[in-house]
Symmetry: C2
Subunit: 466 residues, 2 copies
């Protein structure tokens, strides 16, 4: 049995590890397009910031760890073509030449995603050598670091204020750069409600980041001679006002799209947002071909099929694909879009659906805001957590939770409590039945998530009484 995984990131490596766990006799090969298998892409901002002192530390596992787990790695090797009928994988090797096709019994495609190139004039003609960067891979990271090492890179423009954009704003600020963040949508971190996005924005601004929201970047160009920095970014606000920022580095981080060329040319069906269509067993429909990670559609427990690329999901999907490739029968249980981001001293987290997402999915949502202490306020060091609870009016079902609070306010694990509740289809009211822990330095007799749930229930009762 020879199992081949294409992709050295979360999905491919998880598939390979799990295949070896399930079938220790399986031969497992991982084809990695670059030289960095199993690197933590999510950790890149912390290498840029200097908090991670060496890029090698970003590896979840070393090359040696991976080989010890029983997989063969083919680095700097690109999967060019899948011969589905012949169960052969055609590769281009490190030297750029075609290699002998690799026979496989089961194949897992984990080609991931690539950064979106927004339609900005001048973007295509500029690159890392000019100080203009996309950011997705280790090679992209090294290119950014080279720009940062150049004399005179004292300021940066970040186009986009999603997760990566915010983390890079922090990382570049930590390196002493003056950072300007430009976001097309009305608020930063548009994956949470604007009320929480505004708190994130305040956090950015309090750390010296200049934020322009509702601001669409139109052009990036080399600045005129005599300009304060070498690059010029021209944008326009929603009100039509021009915004011009000069910077030594421009980072364009406006999201990703699934990398599906290999799968599509092999005949795989595509689904939501053009991602590879898979069933919950991660089967593509092509015989012997699984796919997982940022290149595939996401089965969402509340939305059905969507596209929601996250590292956590890629790990789970990869594990399912690897187990099934090795003869197992596991199903991906579905995403809830659970995610958290740290922005300087604060963290924002969400799970499930926001109000408008729930409405679009056919629910009748009600969203209630509440604030609670992370632990008893009489014990030193307590922080407020801003919460937003979304539930279904008719059934009372908990649909989504959003949290914002200090990085030490356990926001990430609190969202996980909510995620576990939503996973099980709990009503908002039933959340109060959960037996959760308490000691004054670390919580309250009613966990903050329960207090938020009770606020939602009170709000509903008041409406019904009225």
């Amino acid at each position: 049995m020879h199992i081949v995984a294409i992709g050295g990131s979360d999905a491919g490596i998880s598939a390979a590890l799990r295949a070896r766990e399930v079938d220790p006799d399986a031969e497992v090969t991982v084809v990695v397009a670059d030289a960095y298998p199993n690197f933590s892409i999510c950790g890149i901002p912390y290498y840029v910031s200097g908090e991670v002192t060496h890029w090698r530390n970003l590896a979840h596992r070393t090359h040696g760890d991976l080989e010890a787990a029983g997989m063969a790695l083919r680095l700097d090797t690109v999967a060019r073509k899948i011969d589905v009928a012949g169960r052969l994988l055609h590769l281009t090797g490190p030297d750029g030449t075609d290699q002998d096709p690799v026979p496989y019994d089961q194949l897992v495609i984990g080609t991931g995603a690539v950064p979106v190139r927004p339609p900005i004039a001048g973007l295509d003609g500029l690159g890392p050598a000019d100080g203009v960067h996309l950011l997705h891979s280790m090679d992209d990271t090294f290119a950014v670091m080279r720009t940062l090492a150049e004399a005179g890179t004292g300021s940066a423009v970040i186009v986009g204020a999603g997760y990566v954009g915010l983390e890079m704003a922090e990382g570049l600020s930590a390196r002493g750069l003056a950072v300007t963040q430009l976001e097309r949508l009305p608020e930063v971190l548009p994956t949470v409600d604007g009320e929480l996005g505004a708190l994130v924005r305040a956090q950015l601004e309090s750390h010296g980041v200049t934020v322009h929201t509702g601001t669409d970047v139109k052009a990036i160009a080399r600045a005129d001679a005599g300009a304060p920095e070498r690059l010029r970014v021209d944008a326009v606000t929603a009100g039509g006002e021009p915004v011009t920022v000069h910077a030594g580095l421009v980072l364009v981080v406006t999201g990703v799209r699934p990398e599906t060329g290999l799968a599509a040319s092999a005949g795989a069906d595509l689904g939501a947002r053009g991602a590879i269509h898979v069933d919950k067993a991660m089967r593509t429909g092509l015989p012997g071909v699984y796919a997982a990670g940022d290149c595939v559609i996401t089965h969402h427990r509340l939305l059905g099929e969507t596209y929601l690329p996250l590292g956590t999901t890629a790990h789970k999907q990869g594990r399912v694909a690897g187990e099934n490739a090795a003869g197992g029968h596991r199903q991906f249980a579905g995403s809830l879009g659970t995610q958290v981001v740290k922005v300087f001293d604060q963290a924002a987290a969400r799970t499930g659906l926001r109000d408008h997402e729930a409405a679009a999915a056919g629910f009748d949502p009600v969203t209630v805001a509440f604030e609670a202490d992370d632990h008893k306020a009489y014990y030193p060091g307590s922080h407020k957590i801003a919460m937003r609870f979304t539930g279904d009016r008719a059934t009372g079902r908990l649909l989504g939770v959003q949290l914002f609070g200090h990085k030490n306010a356990e926001v990430a694990k609190r969202i996980d409590i909510a995620a576990t509740a939503i996973y099980h289809g709990m009503s908002v009211d039933e959340v109060s039945d959960l037996d959760l822990s308490y000691t004054p330095p670390l919580g309250s007799p009613w966990e903050a998530v329960q207090m938020g749930a009770q606020a939602w229930v009170r709000h509903q009762s008041a409406r019904q009484t009225r």
Copy 2:
């Protein structure tokens, strides 16, 4: 409609608050035996330590807050007798005289628990004036503070190393006292496995606490003239060796027993550990009489009826009793014994059953230890979490989790994720299906609890393969 709650602590106040929420027209009276309604008894160690600067800060709500919520408080008033047939409550007032009986429609008994007095020679003849204390109420707390204020109280013996004993060891150490902790059982914090208890003990010792486990206290006496401190504690080790410690303060914190006299004399049935028997609606069986909190049996989701007094449970039971007293139909969903304690810089937490508890309850438990980082180790400030997972061999059901780690390692909220999983009867394997949050500074792509669950599953697979 007049609802009367007896008891100013978690259960009584929760019942009163909830009754007013459910029926804003209800007249609600709370009978409080002392002058401290709705005080956080769990916060006492942090007042003793000095971290809570004024004892009034320990109030969850002020007297004014409670009255604003619509309840009448009768302080320093003891419920002497319940006339069940006449629905009258007989009270003794602040001046020690009988008051006019109070008619009620629905009654909630929340008389709580009282400290156990272990059979130690000399204990009955010594009291706060001698420096010998039990600790359960605000009055007890003030007595301890008076002893601490006396010249020459430079050392303390704590008899018992459960939650309160450990917290008081920290609190008294923080005040500069030399603390000796004596525990009859083989390890401190006997509510978790010895492997984790040993880590708690190391934490105590690293902060200067002298710990004697397997050591049974036999006598407390006034020390002889010329002794280094005014009190002498004599104990004996499991091996029969005598241990003698002198101290200026002796604190006996060896657990509690339910305070049931009032209910029993009214004819209420008693159940596990002599606690008041209630059904899941918190009904005692006496018409119009509910009971909740530390005075009642605990419905446990895995054990059935037991006695497991916890503040969190008292809040939930009180809320159920209050809702039902006001005409509702809520059921207590059951405890999992979820709890956490901070000991200096570390925290220990548990939910569900330990191996021997599960075996006694008829399961076929397997317990597996694992260790994981609280967040990606490449990001600064990561801590190891020691974990113990207990699952059922035959069904794979998750039965219990125990965690130990740094106080900032989010151990409390991680045990809550596990508690939510156990609440829903998840298998250990299914824990990996939960969609939990990740960012490198706050977690890992597989949450630590999922890594522990996977270790359990691997352990089981290895046994089956062997």
